[in-house]
């Protein structure tokens, strides 16, 4: 457990609600050329799943937990690292073409 167990389902619902509005507001007024880089950028951000997979692997007490946890960490790390590289390359291309144009 990352935080103590006082996080009730109600606080969880508050977090979910505020996060959902945040995501909506951040994206709501975006030019359409940024749609694909933003999709890639948000793909990177859910790479945070690697932290949950690390928790599952590090606290594993059996062989199944170790094997599936290993798989989860590898997949999550690939999600995060790959998402970063792809987004960075997309945005870099976007920026240079922007400079040439203007």
């Amino acid at each position: 457990m990352i935080i103590d167990s006082s996080m009730t389902w109600l606080i969880a619902l508050y977090i979910f609600m505020l996060a959902a509005f945040t995501g909506y507001e951040v994206i709501s007024r975006v030019p359409s050329i940024l749609h694909t880089p933003l999709m890639s950028g948000s793909n990177f951000i859910h790479g945070i799943v690697v932290v949950g997979a690390l928790h599952a692997l590090l606290t594993a007490t059996g062989l199944f937990g170790q094997v599936v946890g290993f798989l989860g960490v590898a997949l999550g790390a690939a999600n995060a690292a790959g998402g970063y590289v792809v987004t960075d390359r997309m945005l870099a291309m976007f920026k240079t073409s922007d400079r040439k144009g203007g």
């Binding site: 932290v51 949950g52 997979a53 997949l75 995060a80 970063y84």
Partner: protein
């Protein structure tokens, strides 16, 4: 005790940097620095998640050393492969790489759920239910994204359709959902384990079946939808793990991804249900 506080604070920092980075990415002028900001948050969160080792040393887990080694190897293998692959892939092949990486994130969320459900520690029905729903969405995102990747990469060239496909898919989904309910009810009972295996199998098959009939031209919208799915799955597993950083990052991506999907469908003059349930090839063939 300090360890838990440090991990909690690093999660808070990461969540804040993710939102700030995403905000910067949504404007052409600041977009490039946005991904760097979010990257700093990711490194901080991953580094801090190893702090749990100090807590576990006191608890005395005889597998701890092996687990740390496994974690380091898994991080190096996964990140190394993705970094190398993402750096050398052609610019035109970017969308399918996003699909592939997204599917892996869904797979990671499903693995977390699998580990949580395999344990015999009796969680509350609420936590178990959320874990199962996250597992379902994550698994669908995993196989669905892999099919989307194969279609864009030219490995699957023709949409696979047959009569009554929607009914078959509906039956698969209903059966998987029923199995999911069974997993929650029979958690901790030995026979519950075989239910869980069938449940994961059904969810993975449904992801394949849902994506196969959709034409290649619609794949960017579908990938965006699976991106939102993975975000949602990560958020739900974050609740199961009681980790607010995962909950926030996952739900922000879940809602931002849903909105992006709707915007992308709108840019194609289509509605989302039109993309998912009526087949583009059929429409153009008929008209």
């Amino acid at each position: 005790m300090y360890v838990q506080h440090l991990m909690g604070l690093s999660g808070l920092l990461a969540a804040g940097l993710f939102i700030f980075g995403l905000k910067r990415m949504s404007s052409p002028v600041t977009a490039l620095s946005g991904i760097v900001v979010a990257g700093v948050g990711m490194v901080a969160a991953v580094a801090a998640s190893f702090l749990v080792v100090f807590d576990l040393m006191h608890a005395g887990n005889d597998r701890l050393g092996v687990n740390v080694a496994l974690a380091l190897v898994a991080l190096a293998v996964g990140a190394g492969w993705a970094w190398w692959k993402g750096g050398k892939v052609a610019m035109t092949a970017m969308p399918q790489m996003v699909a592939l990486y997204n599917g892996m994130g869904g797979g990671a969320a499903a693995s977390i759920a699998a580990v949580a459900l395999s344990g015999d520690a009796g969680g509350s029905p609420l936590i178990l239910g959320v874990t199962v729903i996250g597992a379902l969405i994550g698994s669908v995102s995993l196989t669905g994204s892999v099919i989307a990747w194969a279609k864009l990469d030219g490995k699957i060239n023709h949409p696979w359709r047959f009569g009554g496909q929607r009914i078959v898919n509906g039956v698969i989904f209903a059966a998987t959902a029923l199995l999911g309910v069974g997993v929650v009810i029979f958690h901790g009972v030995p026979s519950g384990l075989s239910l869980a295996i069938l449940f994961f199998f059904g969810a993975l098959v449904f992801g394949v079946m849902m994506t196969l009939p959709i034409g290649g031209a619609d794949m960017p919208v579908v990938i965006s939808l699976y991106n939102a799915f993975t975000g949602l799955a990560v958020g739900l597993e974050g609740f199961a793990l009681q980790n607010p950083a995962l909950m926030i990052a996952g739900m922000v991506v879940g809602s931002a991804g849903t909105l992006l999907t709707a915007l992308m469908a709108k840019a194609m003059n289509r509605s989302l249900s039109n993309v998912l349930f009526s087949n583009f090839g059929d429409l153009s063939g008929a008209g």
